[in-house]
């Protein structure tokens, strides 16, 4: 496979934005999913820690 030529002539203004948009949307999906998972995981850890040793709050 010869090394591909990366200049697309007059179509370049469509291919690069398409790649950029694809990268952006996929990146957003990955980031949103990971952040959401980490956020709720931390929340559970905090709540379970609070439940383990009640501290000032009366145990239920």
């Amino acid at each position: 496979m010869s090394m591909t030529s990366l200049d697309y002539g007059k179509y370049a203004i469509f291919i690069w934005p398409a790649l950029a948009v694809t990268a952006a949307v996929l990146a957003w999906m990955v980031a949103d999913s990971l952040l959401r998972a980490r956020y709720w995981q931390k929340k559970v850890q905090v709540l379970e820690a609070a439940r383990a040793q009640p501290g000032e709050k009366p145990a239920p």
Binding site: F14, A18, V21
Partner: protein, 238 residues
């Protein structure tokens, strides 16, 4: 298989290793796919824009694949009343909407050089647009109902209604398309694709599927934690 994954603990243990594995596979396939699509020879008629096909067609395919997963998860959630299936459906919709939006945008960017306009009311593009509106409707219904179990069942019913209606909509839009645009303006990218194009297309589609699989598992894990956090907060409130 459903019974095994039904209870959250076993699912969390399974997805803890499955999600990263799928992510690695997705990354590998994505790299390979991109390399393939950029080393494929230029199409004699569409020129370099055929590169766009390699990222548009997999996205459009994923839009429908995600909806099939959404429908399946909703069916399991409604019939077997699995909480995990409801979480799976809830987690799947945003990803499906993301792929559909991606398909529409790359479709426009592909359409501009080929058809001369950003937006053409072509049968497939219109069907993908209706599918996108349907995703929004699904998520809007889910967000509008406060009680989570009721929201899951209501949106599950809507997903099944959609599962029945989307093929009908696809058919009606195709029928409508033949009515208004008898001569097809562009060469249909049908199965007559030369093999050197099928490879990048297939690899990219597999890459998107692996990525979707990984992200779906991650979002379901987030849902399980969210529900766990809610019940912990409820117990703490006493």
């Amino acid at each position: 298989m459903f019974q095994a994954l039904a209870n959250p603990q076993r699912f969390m243990a399974f997805s803890r290793w499955a999600a990263p594995v799928l992510a690695v596979i997705a990354a590998g396939l994505l790299g390979w796919g991109l390399w393939l699509s950029f080393s494929a020879p230029e199409d004699y008629q569409q020129g370099a824009t055929v590169r766009l096909m390699f990222i548009h067609v997999p996205a459009a395919y994923m839009a429908m694949f995600c909806y099939a997963c959404l429908g399946a998860a909703s069916l399991v959630g409604l019939v077997f009343r699995h909480v995990l299936a409801d979480a799976a459906a809830r987690a799947c919709a945003p990803l499906g909407a993301g792929f559909t939006a991606l398909a529409l945008i790359t479709g426009m960017l592909w359409g501009r050089p080929m058809w001369g306009t950003w937006w053409v009311w072509d049968a497939r593009v219109t069907s993908v647009l209706v599918l996108f509106l349907f995703y929004i409707g699904y998520m809007a219904l889910q967000a509008a109902i406060d009680d989570e179990t009721r929201a899951a069942r209501a949106s599950g019913i809507l997903a099944l209604v959609g599962l029945i209606n989307l093929p009908i909509i696809k058919f009606s839009v195709d029928w409508w398309n033949t009515l208004h645009q008898p001569a097809s303006v562009f060469r249909k990218g049908g199965p007559s694709l030369p093999p050197e194009f099928l490879w990048p297309l297939g690899v990219m589609a597999l890459a998107y599927m692996a990525l979707f699989g990984a992200l779906w598992l991650v979002r379901i894990r987030a849902e399980v934690w969210r529900k766990r956090a809610q019940s912990l907060a409820l117990q703490a409130a006493g």
